[in-house]
């Protein structure tokens, strides 16, 4: 498969702070690529350099092997993390406005259908709920029938139901064969939507692969979690994170025996298969949402 979008040695410096430090990536056509990391990891800076919105301090972005040029925005769709829409115009008018800004655009009815905007077409932009707004912003990002869709934390601030609803919209867009680049700090979101992920921390990419493979490479077994408020010595292999401990265990029987043997109360104990969040904790040693 060929890469549709790639970045080469990209860096961004704000004064003395190096927000993104010499990263390179290749993104294959038709996949959903997730850029994960905690707040301030450099996700937005990276994605905005890929979008051609921010000028990199060093390095470059290539679209189909060519450095991005003036026609790049005709072929991509962008949903920023926070965008205001023009006041006093309706959803339908906003869609019409953005359709008119591109030399070719897809049938607005299709976009309305994909993003389930049918019920709110006549609503003033100011009166949209969080979920409705994100759906409209997604619609604006696909109104030009783009090859690549950039979504920067599209579900941040949505309630769980609206978030799931939004995921199904992204699935629909994926099925159309579009390449999606998504940033998120919800690991669950990345596991459900992304074919490939890169984990960023402090301006670096610290891991990159297919989510399942990343987990298989880094974990072998399950994660045992237990609330931990005492000053007792930590059991073997346990890591203290805030007010609980985590033990990565290959043999669950032996781990539990060991805990009981040390007279540790098992109230609140949970066992789960390792996920991206555990991976992040393992890789960075810090909590993802901190």
């Amino acid at each position: 498969m060929s890469s549709i979008l790639s970045i080469e040695n990209l860096s961004k410096r704000y004064g003395k702070v190096l927000a993104v430090d010499n990263i390179s990536l290749e993104i294959e056509e038709g996949i959903c690529f997730g850029l994960l990391g905690p707040n301030g990891a450099g996700k937005t800076t990276t994605i905005e350099m890929m979008e051609g919105i921010l000028k990199p301090t060093e390095g470059r972005t290539l679209f189909r092997g060519e450095p991005i040029g003036p026609h790049f925005h005709q072929h991509v769709g962008i949903q920023f993390q926070s965008t205001a829409l023009q006041d006093f115009i309706t959803v339908e008018e906003t869609l019409k406005l953005f359709s008119a800004l591109y030399s070719t655009h897809r049938d607005p009815d299709e976009v309305i259908e994909i993003c389930s905007l049918g019920d709110i077409l006549k609503r003033d932009n100011r009166k949209l709920s969080g979920g409705q707004r994100q759906r409209l912003l997604l619609a604006l990002a696909i109104v030009n029938d783009p090859k690549v869709v950039f979504l920067d934390e599209p579900t941040t601030g949505l309630d769980p139901q609206a978030r799931r609803n939004f995921w199904s919209l992204i699935e629909k867009i994926k099925k159309e064969g579009k390449t999606i680049l998504l940033t998120t700090h919800y690991m669950e979101e990345a596991e459900i939507l992304c074919d490939e992920v890169a984990i960023m921390d402090q301006g670096h990419i610290i891991a990159r692969d297919v989510p399942k493979k990343l987990l298989a490479d880094n974990f072998d077994g399950v994660v045992v979690k237990l609330p931990w408020l005492s000053d007792k010595q930590l059991p073997d292999g346990a890591v203290l994170i805030d007010d609980y401990i985590e033990i990565h265990s290959r043999d669950i029987d032996a781990t539990l025996h060991n805990l009981i043997h040390h007279s540790i109360h098992l109230d609140g104990l949970s066992i789960h298969a390792p996920n991206l969040e555990d991976l992040f904790l393992k890789l960075t040693g810090s909590s993802l949402r901190a």
Partner: protein, 330 residues
């Protein structure tokens, strides 16, 4: 062109649907015109206003009386225009030993009696005639100009700053729209809005107040359009790169209020210190109001208002240049 039309349409809709804004742009100036028309409908002040040509210090008697206001003029024709419009009660030319009164002015008649009873020198009597200018005739170009200024500077300058701050501009930057297309759509939208509101305000109040109109409506519309483009360009300088609405608001007020005070909106600059009159020439509003008054009150044609027009066009070019050099999406 399609992009331009779409952006302009969106901006027009935003204006029309914003009720509060519509009120300020339409009803406020109407209230102002009627309010001032009512407030100044009572008689003039009690002083006699006498235009004097020549050195009045050497003349005795009448001209030294404290109940009259002497206004020195260099240009006889200019003073006589004022007399024709009842802005002066009498003009005395000391160099030619003649005096002029307006045959339709009662105050002029009284002033003449006082002057001749003084029995100083044998002066030749001359008459002019003309209708009085009410304050409201004089005031209406000021209101239209003031409204234009606020509408252009806030409607373009402040709005674009707000778009920049809340991310509307950034979202547009992510489309193939060029800055020039966006800015010109804002400019044309505001030009149409200002011309329409000015026409509505003028025509609406004219029904009741019947303004004096000595010149051509077409010329008035032309100078209004030229001045509107100039004001919008001025607003674009604020819009070019400021990110904070508060800063923009402060700077705009800093520019607006001196113009409000010293462009001759509410009171004539005649008789104010020379420095102030010189300073007022740098305000685009001064040139608009001057030209609009010349058309309405003195029947000035294109040639007479050409100097104002040239200044406004020159300022527009300068403002556009500065704002295009400064412009940034973010």
């Amino acid at each position: 062109m399609r992009k331009f039309a779409a952006l302009m349409h969106a901006r027009n809709m935003e204006f029309v649907r914003d009720r509060g804004n519509l009120f300020w742009n339409l009803l406020f100036p109407v209230f102002l015109v009627f309010g001032f028309s009512f407030a100044f409908s009572g008689g003039d002040d009690t002083l006699f206003k006498v235009g004097v040509i020549g050195n009045s210090e050497i003349a005795g008697g009448f001209l030294q009386e404290s109940y009259l206001e002497k206004i020195p003029y260099e240009d006889t024709a200019f003073a006589l225009d004022k007399l024709r419009h009842h802005q002066l009660d009498m003009v005395i030319n000391l160099q030619k030993s003649s005096y002029y009164i307006n045959d339709g002015s009662a105050k002029g008649e009284v002033a003449e009696r006082l002057f001749t009873s003084d029995g100083a020198l044998p002066f030749i009597r001359k008459e002019v005639s003309g209708e009085p200018i009410r304050y409201v005739d004089w005031f209406v170009p000021g209101v239209i100009g003031m409204n234009m200024m606020f509408s252009c500077i806030f409607g373009v300058g402040w709005i674009i700053v707000r778009y920049r701050k809340n991310g509307v501009l950034k979202r547009l930057k992510a489309t193939p729209v060029r800055a020039l297309e966006f800015v010109s759509a804002q400019l044309v939208s505001r030009l149409l809005i200002v011309l329409l509101t000015s026409i509505v305000v003028f025509a609406g109040t004219n029904i009741f107040l019947k303004f004096m109109m000595e010149g051509s409506y077409l010329n008035l519309l032309l100078i209004t359009a030229v001045a509107t483009i100039c004001m919008i360009s001025f607003g674009l300088i604020f819009a070019a790169r400021i990110k904070s609405e508060e800063l923009a608001n402060g700077l705009m007020n800093l520019a607006l209020w001196p113009m409000m005070a010293f462009s001759g909106v509410f009171f004539s600059l005649e008789g104010t210190p020379l420095l102030l009159r010189k300073l007022s020439r740098i305000f685009p509003l001064t040139h608009y109001i001057e030209a609009a008054r010349a058309i309405m009150l003195d029947g000035a044609g294109l040639t007479e208002i050409l100097p104002n027009m040239i200044v406004l066009i020159g300022m527009t070019a300068l403002f556009l240049l500065v704002s295009s050099l400064l412009f940034k999406w973010e």
